[in-house]
């Protein structure tokens, strides 16, 4: 039963006050995209054992979507951040690298 801090209202919200939204930073593929691009957008998701970026909505609170970086194996939460970004913040990635040496992610490059 997780607790995540909503970056918008500062509340340490109980998991029962939140709604999960799956993997973060998916790029939308609209009309004109190839079948492969569209498949990747709609269906293909990462399923890491370890660091994962995901979307949550503070649905019983301020109603805002936010992002969380969480270890799926230990439930360690590295941070939560705004939903209005297309990639996790650099400082957060550095913090994760400090805690999980050898951590590999497309966001590190």
């Amino acid at each position: 039963m997780l607790i995540l801090r909503c970056p918008y209202c500062g509340i340490d919200a109980d998991e029962t006050e939140l709604t999960p939204g799956g993997e973060a930073h998916i790029t939308r593929a609209g009309p004109g995209s190839s079948d492969a691009e569209f498949e990747a957008y709609l269906f293909l998701r990462e399923n890491p054992k370890g660091v994962h970026f995901e979307r949550w909505r503070h649905s019983y609170g301020c109603g805002k979507w936010f992002h969380a970086a969480r270890c799926t194996a230990t439930n360690e939460v590295f941070g939560t951040y705004s939903a209005q970004v297309t990639a996790p913040p650099k400082e957060l990635c550095q913090k994760i690298s400090g805690k999980r040496p050898g951590w590999l992610s497309r966001w590190l490059s």
């Binding site: 607790i3 609209g30 649905s59 805002k64 209005q84």
Partner: protein, 1007 residues
């Protein structure tokens, strides 16, 4: 025979007798008794039959670990099966009944199972239940299930109420023994917010029974003083009768408080389930003694040595007058000394160790007890109770050296820390070979949200200290654990100085997993590991022979540890046997997973307040009460309740529906449409945003106009529909389906916040601000004009327009939209004016024959018009194109949600099932969901189908059955006749027709 001693019993009050019954027999116990101690006081040894073999069983333990004494208590609405007698506090009038026997506890026909025991060994479920097939129905299910079981589930509705309570604390201490008390003291002294919970009604744990010496005297004064000091602190919450049931991620803990189990009463909650967020948790959960595996160790009268001691010290009852002690450690000598002090006989202590030194054995010897080193029990004598023991050498094959008459056996195989709560959130264990136990690995604690440890074990639960399980260690580790927990929550903490304790020096334990070491296979078949599930040493050995290597697999194959006690007594012994059979060291074999709850908790507590009327929120419209008072036959729609129809005296539901449809078509009907979702979308980019949300163009809708819109998911599937009204230059009001308001509002916000956050758009779900009523039928305009206030003529307010104004003094917004095909006005008023406006419509409408109608009449009328319904015509696999709604899909827009998906080959396949009307040749009503039978058979050998019915009704307007359905290439097959399935009857023929059955030109609604 009374088991009550003339003196002693620190928890009982001898002045207060308490009457209760066991299997209908009146018995008397004392205030402070548990059901188990009271039964023992009454000489009742036999308390149940075992799960599989129906062996006679008595009480083994004194607490939560009890595997045998499971009883059904209470009757009627307070009947509850499988209550552990050892944790059931006695109260006046308690009724208890034994379980799993027929016809009686004393004579049980199921004991025949014991004769069949060679068929019921490990894995018998899998082996025996395979064949012959006919036995499934006639033998296995009725006979074996009947005989293998716990107490039957009660039939009556629970009389009690339950509640939840949330708490957020710095430090939660679980366990109120000396380690838990001093941990709470340490943490509280540092200023931390502390909660201390204890599963029993008493504080101090085992200290008083085990003769702990604190500051030169018994533990009681220290325990009392410490408890009082804690209770006096503002930052400490002390909760007895509260069990730590489970520890989860991020410091979430479930605790189970038993408020009235010891004092049943109406009106007060029986249990309270605590949902605790603890930043740090101290598990001071103690340790549990292990049984020894010798032949006949399950006979009533064979008990844990510590339990026998508990019963004497706490409740002044004894298990027998002559008790043989069998042990592999020094602790059991405390039982011998306690029994001597109580004036009872201890004919011998059989100690499996070759060398017996240490202070406690010396004292036992000095007091004249015979101590046999290197000895064990070859067999317990007796059929339904202990009559004696056959003694053998532990190192031998079980050759009997002598027999000793006795009526009780106290066994001790050493102690295992209660690591359950540490293990629930992922704490790892480490094997301690000296004491033969698994203890928390301090380097592998469960970690919280910050990646730091959040559970600290203390006292015996942390494993033994340098000198074993001593009071000194319990106090020191508890004090430090409490301080460390406080430090981790940001407090400046120093461990309180533990009081001085004196502990006798204890000699080392020798692990004993089978007694004697070289026991024969026959003897191993009589050595119980798991008393509740009837698993023996021979079963685990057999599993190993059959190739089981993983402890998790062996557990499931043999059912070891799978009973309601979750193997509290059996786990370590069982995995030691498995390790031995596999020739592997115990730590290599490992343990099974510990899962919450620690002991079973009531379903009522889990449900809390969510039962009966509060099971789910019921959402009510502003005229709910009127509906209720006027014959509403309710239908749940999402969390809402909507009237399905309004029943009149003497009417059937069908008749009422038909009447409502006819009256609306012929005169005027009134529908409570308040449940429809209303979402205000506003901003400079609102039009562009709505063009993405809807398949059709909303940006071009002029203010004052309405447009029917479709919403798809990115998968292309239709998810919602409704009428959109343009309010002003920057504002649109989007209506959703009844169940859709919250979902569609969330859907809009998701896209605005996570994809198009540059768009300047705000949304607000204003569904509940309005009561909304549809006034429908040829007299609708006349009625509204009678009330007066607005020009509602066809010229002033044409079809698909809206206007704001006052009608009869009410603040209204009027939408000229129709879901019935009739002349129709949907009128929104502020919810607080809803009831008054409804009443006005009914009174003014009386001369016009106004009648309210429900959802079924609404459905029939829309089906007569061929309008689709989300959830009927759609099921998450249907795209608008399937429903003939191409007209509502913009060809001009470059993009909208679902557009790309609808271009996929399967979506553009002309062979998709598409919407048509269906007309049975004989006028009958098609069955809901019926399939159109195709030609031949599919790849699975099933009848091919080529369509299905999505909506089907008897139309009172047309006097016949009408239906809509999805049929392969349906619109191209007008006039074709298809066969539709019926359940248990021959197929029926229906012709493919237009889905618009009524007023196809829309003259009525446009009028």
């Amino acid at each position: 025979m009374s088991g009550r001693l003339p003196t002693g019993g620190r928890l009982i009050d001898r002045r207060l007798p308490v009457e209760f019954t066991f299997n209908g027999k009146r018995m008397e116990g004392l205030e402070g008794d548990t059901l188990a101690s009271a039964l023992m006081a009454n000489g009742q040894r036999l308390v149940g039959r075992s799960f599989k073999y129906h062996r006679p069983r008595g009480v083994v333990a004194s607490g939560a670990e009890e595997p045998n004494a499971l009883l059904t208590t209470g009757h009627g609405r307070r009947e509850e099966p499988n209550q552990r007698a050892t944790t059931t506090e006695l109260f006046a009038g308690l009724e208890a009944r034994s379980q799993n026997h027929w016809p009686s506890l004393e004579f049980d026909i199921g004991a025949l199972n014991a004769r069949l025991s060679r068929f019921l060994t490990a894995g018998f479920y899998y082996k025996m239940f395979m064949w012959p097939r006919a036995f499934w129905k006639h033998v296995y299910e009725p006979v074996i299930r009947q005989s293998a079981g716990l107490g039957p589930a009660p039939n009556a509705r629970d009389a009690d109420i339950y509640e939840h309570s949330y708490a957020t604390v710095d430090v939660l201490v679980i366990g109120g023994g000396v380690a838990g008390l001093i941990a709470a003291q340490s943490a509280a002294a540092a200023g931390a917010r502390v909660m201390l919970i204890e599963q029993t009604a008493a504080w101090g744990g085992r200290a008083m029974v085990d003769g702990a010496v604190i500051e030169g005297q018994g533990a009681e004064p220290w325990v009392e003083a410490t408890t009082e000091a804690l209770a006096a602190r503002e930052n400490v919450d002390l909760r007895p009768r509260t069990m730590g049931a489970g520890v989860y991620d991020h410091g979430y803990v479930l605790a189970y408080e038993r408020l009235c189990d010891h004092d049943p009463q109406d009106g007060a909650p029986r249990h309270r389930l605590w949902k605790i967020r603890a930043r740090q948790i101290v598990t001071a959960t103690g340790a549990i003694e292990r049984p020894l595996a010798f032949a006949g160790n399950d006979l009533p009268g064979v008990m844990l040595a510590s339990a026998i001691r508990d019963y004497v010290v706490n409740w002044g009852v004894h298990a027998g007058a002559r008790t043989v002690i069998v042990t592999n450690n020094d602790d059991a000598y405390r039982t011998a000394l306690t029994l001597l002090d109580a004036g009872l006989d201890v004919p011998a202590i059989l100690d499996a160790r070759d060398e017996v030194t240490g202070a406690l054995p010396d004292e036992a010897r000095a007091r004249g007890i015979r101590v046999e080193a290197g000895a064990g029990i070859a067999k317990v004598k007796g059929a339904a109770k202990v009559e004696g023991v056959a003694v053998c050498r532990q190192g031998g094959d079980g050759t009997v050296t002598e027999e000793i008459a006795c009526d009780a056996v106290a066994m001790s195989g050493g102690w295992s820390p209660v690591v359950h709560l540490w293990s629930h959130p992922g704490g790892k264990l480490v094997w301690n070979a000296d004491h033969a136990l698994f203890a928390p690995d301090p380097d592998a604690a469960p970690k919280g949200a910050d990646g730091q440890p959040f559970v600290i074990p203390a006292g015996a639960a942390a494993g033994p200290g340098d000198a074993g399980f001593t009071t000194t260690h319990a106090l020191a580790s508890g004090a430090e654990a409490g301080a460390e927990a406080a430090r981790r929550t940001g407090h400046k903490a120093k461990a309180v100085k533990p009081p001085m304790a004196d502990d006798p020096a204890e000699g080392p334990l020798t692990p004993v997993w089978v007694m004697p070491q070289g026991a024969t296979p026959e003897a191993r078949g009589k050595m119980w590991l798991d008393f509740q599930n009837d698993v023996k040493v021979s079963d685990v050995e057999q599993a190993a022979r059959e190739g089981y290597q993983s402890v998790e697999h062996t557990k499931r194959y043999t059912t070891l540890g799978m009973a309601t006690d979750q193997g509290k007594l059996s786990n370590i012994n069982g995995l030691a046997i498995l390790a031995d059979s596999l020739g592997e060291p115990i730590p290599e074999v490992g343990t099974t997973t510990f899962r919450p709850p620690y002991t079973p908790i009531s379903m009522g507590a889990i449900g809390g307040e969510a039962r009966g009327a509060l099971f789910q929120p019921v959402r009510r419209t502003p005229v709910h009460d009127w509906h209720e008072a006027n014959g509403a036959h309710w239908e749940p729609v999402g969390h809402w309740r909507r009237p399905y129809t309004f029943l009149r005296e003497g009417e059937s539901v069908e008749q009422a529906v038909q009447r409502e449809v006819r009256n609306t078509r012929e005169a005027v009907g009134l529908l409570d449409a308040s449940t429809l979702g209303k979402i205000l979308v506003r901003g400079p980019d609102a039009g562009a945003f709505l063009d993405m949300m809807y398949t059709n163009m909303m940006s071009t809708l002029p203010p004052g106009r309405c447009r029917y819109g479709l919403m798809c998911s990115e998968n292309g599937f239709l998810i919602d529909d409704g009428v959109v009204a343009r309010i002003d230059e920057e504002s649109w009001l989007c209506h959703t389906t009844t169940g859709g308001a919250d979902r569609i509002h969330a859907h809009m916000e998701e896209w605005l916040q996570t994809e198009w956050w540059d768009m300047k758009v705000f949304t607000a779900n204003i569904t509940e601000q309005y009561a909304q009523f549809a006034v429908v039928g040829p007299e609708a305009r006349n009625l509204l004009e009678d009330i007066g206030g607005m020009d509602l003529s066809a010229e002033a307010l044409p079809f698909m327009h809206w206007a704001e104004g006052q009608i009869g003094g009410f603040d209204t917004r009027v939408f000229r939209i129709s879901f019935s095909g009739e002349l129709s006005y949907e009128i929104a008023v502020p919810a607080g004016q809803g009831r008054a406006f409804w009443d006005r419509l009914l009174s003014v409408g009386k001369p016009y024959g106004i009648m309210p109608y429900g959802t079924e009449a609404l459905h029939i009328m829309r089906a007569e018009k061929g309008f689709i319904m989300i959830g009927d015509e759609t099921d998450g696999t249907v795209i608008p194109q399937d429903l003939g709604l191409n007209w509502a899909i913009s060809k001009k827009k470059a993009d909208f949600l679902g557009k790309r998906a609808q271009e996929r080959t399967h979506m553009a396949d002309p062979g998709r099932w598409q919407l048509v009307g269906l007309r049975t040749l004989n006028g009958s009503v098609l069955e809901d969901g019926a399939y159109a039978i195709g030609e031949g058979r599919n790849a699975n050998g099933q009848q091919s189908v080529e369509g299905r019915v999505t909506s089907t009704y008897f139309s009172p307007t047309l006097g016949r059955g009408i239906a809509m359905g999805l049929v392969r290439e349906g619109p191209n097959r007008m006039g074709e006749i298809l066969q539709f399935t019926r359940i248990g009857a021959a197929p029926v023929e229906a012709r493919i027709v237009s889905p618009v059955f009524y007023d196809p030109d829309g003259e009525r609604q446009n009028g």
